[in-house]
Symmetry: D2
Subunit: 361 residues, 4 copies
């Protein structure tokens, strides 16, 4: 019976994989079981954030040293930006097989799927929505999760358009959703999030069309976390949920923050896993794993009060939002090694976002 | 019998005093009673933050229109930097005289003092510490507060060194603590905070010397909030506390955050004023007033986890810290119009800081 | 016979008008003759640059003290951003009347015009182009310039859209060019520049339509400098050129840089005024006045080499471009008190821009 | 007879070594002859610039693939920061052996030396000065240069202090020059520059002591370029000069800019190599290689005019200075693929810096 393990390991630099190496050396992590590694790296999280690529290179080199060519199956999802007090770290998601009889009832389950390359002309359009939705279903199957309501977090790494990719499509007579590379990142995240929402039944197919992608903010998934990257043409999908087919002490739940300071639902999700806040000891606090999305509300306000995140030409609004939401969540859970990622198109309501929590029950 | 009123008014821009004007026009504020105006303005809060001077100019022009030359007695303390979701706003502190019989027992009291110009050679040294300590005692007397433990917040606006001021002192054969203008800001804040601590009995005179200022972080006041500015040579001191001689519904309490996410003491301070969190309604949440100091810990960690605030050459650590701590506090109290100020030398422990809360009892 | 005077005065801060005051006190400047003041202020030059408004407030207060209500006729055009080594300064443009017989032949001439408020639905469209073109013609007449080829620099301060202005237009059933406030700044600058080009015969009316504004970069004026601001609804237009009707030692010429390092045409324009570079003395170098526009080329390259200005999420491309072009021009002319302004839509070719030079002949 | 080759190759990203690979594949570069690779990478050039480490990793991986363990002998010196229009690129310095008879008279010569690890207590002190001076002499010997006046550029990569290194020294009872990691970078660069000046006879040993390092700005080398990095404990020294023992078409000269816009000496250095500016064709311009240091003058002025580089809390002064000086130099030479590096302690006078130029004669 599979058992899901989540190893949270501090990183001293974007290429510091020594903690992961140490855990492998100590036998705590079996490299052959690694399904995915999520990283919070300390770049600006925007266009010229080289900490992500640097981290991926270091992680891939390390994995190849242990598992050879199988390293390419591991989903490496780097989220740049550790503003405020966020601590750079890795989340190593491992599937073990020694979980027999450890727990009764459902436990944390992990599944993964890759998609074929997405034709550039489908990016940010229904073609991408549908491709992602299909992959989420495969990842659910891989995790042994049958009911959409048992899924609590879906991480998708999705492609973006480059000048070359646009040219290739146009050379075939195809049109693309945008010629703006930066804009294509948001469209790709948004279409992927809608694909997740479609797969999980949060959004109906009849509500979706090319026209709503990136524009109708009322359509969103409460369990989606999407990031786009230049290094792939298809999608990598990681599903986290609860399954009767898995064992072990870990459970997962999710919440949707309606705005940047809406922490009560997160406390509720933790309570559903049996966690009472504040934690009695720092060790208990430290054991909590939090994954969240953050963004500046387009309305320009939070509960009716003005924010300046969209007007600051010195600091990107995504940097403001990550640091601020990280403060709210770290204050709640009592530690700073949390995963808050920016760019939340169709991922939660305007200015809010999905949060997943993992805890030992 | 005096009554303290605290008007929190949103600002649409650094020079937007329309909300204050409207309150005066409506009779809500009597301009003759204004003791001080604190402002959170939306600049970078660092050296080249012109939003502070712009705000002071707009406020001073407005006050002169209402009270003439008496405007210069009003302490105008601008704190730059509304990172994350913090909302730019004014806190207008007013002393009314219509409070007879409104409450029994102590109520929020406000006092103010100015000092003579500080000779540049005393800045960042014991001469400044002692001058501030003496002024705090006068401001306490002005507020009708006799016991140091009844003081919950002391805001000091203190001077800095300029090249011209250094030259003037050196021309007289005097030496200065530093020739570095930026460094003088921190030394001035630190010496002022130690002066507050001395006046309030938090620190003994025997513990103090020129050598500890800016270096011995174990010495701090839990009620000090200091900011330095180029526009004055002396000090402006505003004391907030509880006094039997004042009436009205407002009360004040304080707490010391031991690090950037240590919100439990703040909840405790609010509880001491009868406030239960989370607030039952958004209106109740909105009524809470929070003043805090924030800084990046020099240790480079928060509860043992690394932060990158001191390594980021694109965003000043003070900007990171304000946004992050504001997130933690806004998540706690449920609104974003809070006053979090940076630069906390000798104001609370390394990486933490004092917080004052004002609420209607 | 009118004589144009251009006073370049250093500014120690955005609100430092002491140099202008001193020149008025010394009789060097007659405040009644001030037509316009251009300022390079030291903010970020982007959305939240409060140094511009702070400067305008200080200048307007000063002018009112000297000329009363006539102060409102003075065009105050602030350009934020003194990146690299650029020195913050004012350019006070004065029309004197004591120029009889000082020179033969044409001399620098200054003209000014204001327009009626622009209906929001015309912003960024042909209505704005035509309104600006008409105002340029009036400003030319005011300067006594009849031939378009005698105009060397046109500064336009133009409006932008705010949420309120958009709503007002839509309430009347009118549509606006964009609902995005920031985008409206670029559209307003672009339409104004096309209006200048139309008035000066650089662009034919048949080439213009709503559709080309902001999109067809092949259409541009080589003498336009436009900046948008929230504080006005109409336009302020200042024309600088050569006129037989003016006297005095000053002359003006212009050049178009085809890219960010194309300084040869600027040297040519100076040569046309009799200036040989490098200047023999620093005083001679200091006497040269330079006004330029700068921007990052959308092509992503300069002479075939990649630039990173459009990919840097920490520093706005306008800040990169101003500092870099200022370096190229300051290296050429030998001093750093030059006026380089960003945001060059339809002002010169992609990545390049117009430059005007003023020198004593 | 050795021949020096300098290959300037554009980089599309910090880890983009494809251009170097292509040149090796085409036989243009013999990987066994690579002495050093200098890189301008597109990070912020400050503490958290990961583009440097990312580049080093990519270059080292590439070199290992070609020359195996010998890759570690190649000096990889990355300078972060391509502000303004600077183009990210590599300078591959190669020593060929096919130069017999190609030229008469001296030609560009390249030499290299490594030092032993520097004990942390010597960093920023005379121990470092002397170690670097000795290594410069070895590198000169390696280049076959006997006279100091034939050296035109010395690049030193030097270590910095970390908390661990400080602790190690203190554990042995040794004291260090500073406990501040960031400050140690400047001290290390400064001591290295003084070591270069000592070796080249620009500074006398009697002028040097621990006390002058980092403080007496009147002591400087006009041929030094130093950068500190965490990845080494000793020094890597690359000397470029002219030697009768080398052949080939390339020559090198140097100049000292006395301030940020002092380009005339650079034109003079190029003239000494037979280069007339402006170049007749873009190809000729493109062939010029420029290496320079840039910094904001501590005086706060350039030729008497104020700069704001040291007051800007949003953009580091090193970023301002690089972009501005790059503009001045690119305007002069006519292309943007130039190497301007920041942090010029004891490298040229305050606000100025050394510049080396390499050209085909």
């Amino acid at each position: 019976m599979p058992i899901a393990k989540v190893h949270r390991i501090s990183a001293g630099a974007p290429d510091d994989v020594s903690g992961v190496e140490a855990a492998i050396a100590a036998g705590t992590i079996d490299p052959a079981g690694i399904i995915a590694i999520f990283g919070k790296t300390e770049g600006n999280g925007c266009v010229n954030d080289f900490s992500r690529g640097f981290a991926v290179r270091a992680l891939a080199d390390m994995l190849r040293g242990h598992v050879g060519a199988a390293a390419q199956d591991v989903c490496l999802v780097m989220s740049g930006g550790t503003e405020g007090g966020m601590a750079p770290h890795w989340l190593v998601l491992e599937r073990g097989e020694d979980g027999e009889g450890m727990t009764s009832g459902p436990a944390l389950a992990i599944g993964r799927a890759h998609t074929a390359p997405l034709p550039p002309e489908h990016l940010g359009r229904m073609g991408q929505v549908e491709q992602v939705a299909e992959a989420v279903q495969r990842a659910m199957a891989d995790a042994g999760i049958t009911r959409p309501e048992d899924v609590h977090f879906v991480q998708v790494k999705c492609p973006l358009l480059t000048a070359a990719r646009v040219a290739e499509a146009q050379g075939r007579g195809a049109s693309v959703a945008t010629g703006d590379t930066l804009k294509s990142m948001g469209l790709s995240r948004g279409a992927s999030a809608l694909g997740i929402g479609l797969a999980l039944g949060e959004i109906g197919l009849e509500q979706l069309s090319d026209a709503v992608i990136g524009t109708d903010l009322s359509l969103w998934s409460g369990r989606a976390s999407c990031s786009s990257g230049i290094e792939l043409m298809g999608h990598e999908v990681v599903v986290l949920g609860m399954s009767e087919g898995w064992s072990g002490p870990l459970g997962i739940a999710h919440a949707v923050m309606k705005d940047a300071i809406d922490i009560a639902p997160v406390a509720g999700a933790l309570a559903s896993l049996g966690v009472t806040l504040p934690s009695a000891t720092q060790d208990e606090a430290d054991s909590l794993i939090v994954l969240a999305k953050a963004e500046a509300s387009r309305s320009g306000t939070i509960r009716g009060r003005r924010h300046i995140m969209l007007d600051d030409s010195d600091i990107s609004s995504t940097r403001h939002a990550r640091g601020f939401v990280a403060g709210a969540l770290a204050g709640l859970v009592g530690h700073t090694e949390i995963y808050v990622s920016g760019g939340a198109e169709h991922q939660g309501p305007d200015g809010g976002g999905p949060v997943a929590v993992i805890a030992t029950r």
